[in-house]
Amino acid sequence: MEIDFASIVAKNQSMVFSLALRFLRNREIAEELAQDVFLQCYRQIDKIEDAGHACSWLRRAICHRSIDELRKRRFRPAIGLDDIPEPAAVGGMPDLMMRDRLRGLVSDLPEKARMVVVLRYQEDLSPTEIGEMLEMPVSTVKSHLHRSLALLRGRLEKRGRARVANGGDIPATEVCL
């Protein structure tokens, strides 16, 4: 079976870019990091066995590189113009706001918990797969998931109450999640 690097890039670019973007919340850095990871893959292409292996290799590489990048830069996740939802019809607005709010809350999670949540809900990986990828016990993965969901739910409810108290307006602080 013959695979080529161009098809590896085409098939996995969304996955690699999105993992970096969801973790770092910075489009430029995510793109730069994703390109680096693909180049790293290109340099080791003779070790790649097939398309599935390429996918898992890239996923693992971008997760670890994203964590390293975050530790190196120590930047506070900032919201860019790209992260602000497009103006939408009134009916669609709450969903868009909710999604953006959730993405912001996820980016506020501690780094390991954030990666676990992103791998679980973006990549739909099982706790076992996440554990193998991040080299942590399955029980720790489940614990991260459980605590993260509780934390996210609590923060959403808190902001929901604040919103009602403000007469339905979105608090100004929420724009800078």
Partner: protein, 119 residues
């Protein structure tokens, strides 16, 4: 609530497409990094790879040898052609000189005969 939150999380964390020129940039960088390397790889049977690498090396060596040998053969052929043309030209010249000598001899013979008649 939990299921609902998980659904919303899945929706919120959906994969997002990178910029349109992302793949082109990656391929350009990869090409610039190793212009001689192929962007393709044979995968699946790792036992084949050393053989394929050897065959590639052999092909490369054969190509280099051909590149070195072909000009020498061509030059040699061109040299022989030139030599043959030179020999033919020399032969033509000798023939032309022989004809001229014969004609001059005939002319001298005529002059001698005419001079003898006049005397």
């Amino acid at each position: 609530m939990n299921e609902n939150l998980e659904d919303v999380l899945r929706e919120s964390l959906r994969r997002e497409a990178p910029p349109a020129d992302f793949a082109a940039k990656v391929l350009a960088k990869a090409g610039a990094e190793a212009p001689r390397a192929t962007l393709s790889v044979v995968a699946g049977n790792s036992a084949k790879k050393p053989w394929q690498r050897r065959s590639f090396t052999l092909a490369l060596a054969a190509t280099l040898a051909a590149v070195a040998i072909v000009p020498a053969v061509v030059l040699d052929y061109q040299h022989k052609q030139e030599e043959a043309r030179g020999l033919k030209a020399k032969q033509d010249l000798l023939t032309a000189l022989a004809i001229t000598r014969d004609q001059l001899q005939q002319a001298r013979e005529k002059v001698r005969r005419t001079t003898r008649i006049i005397q």
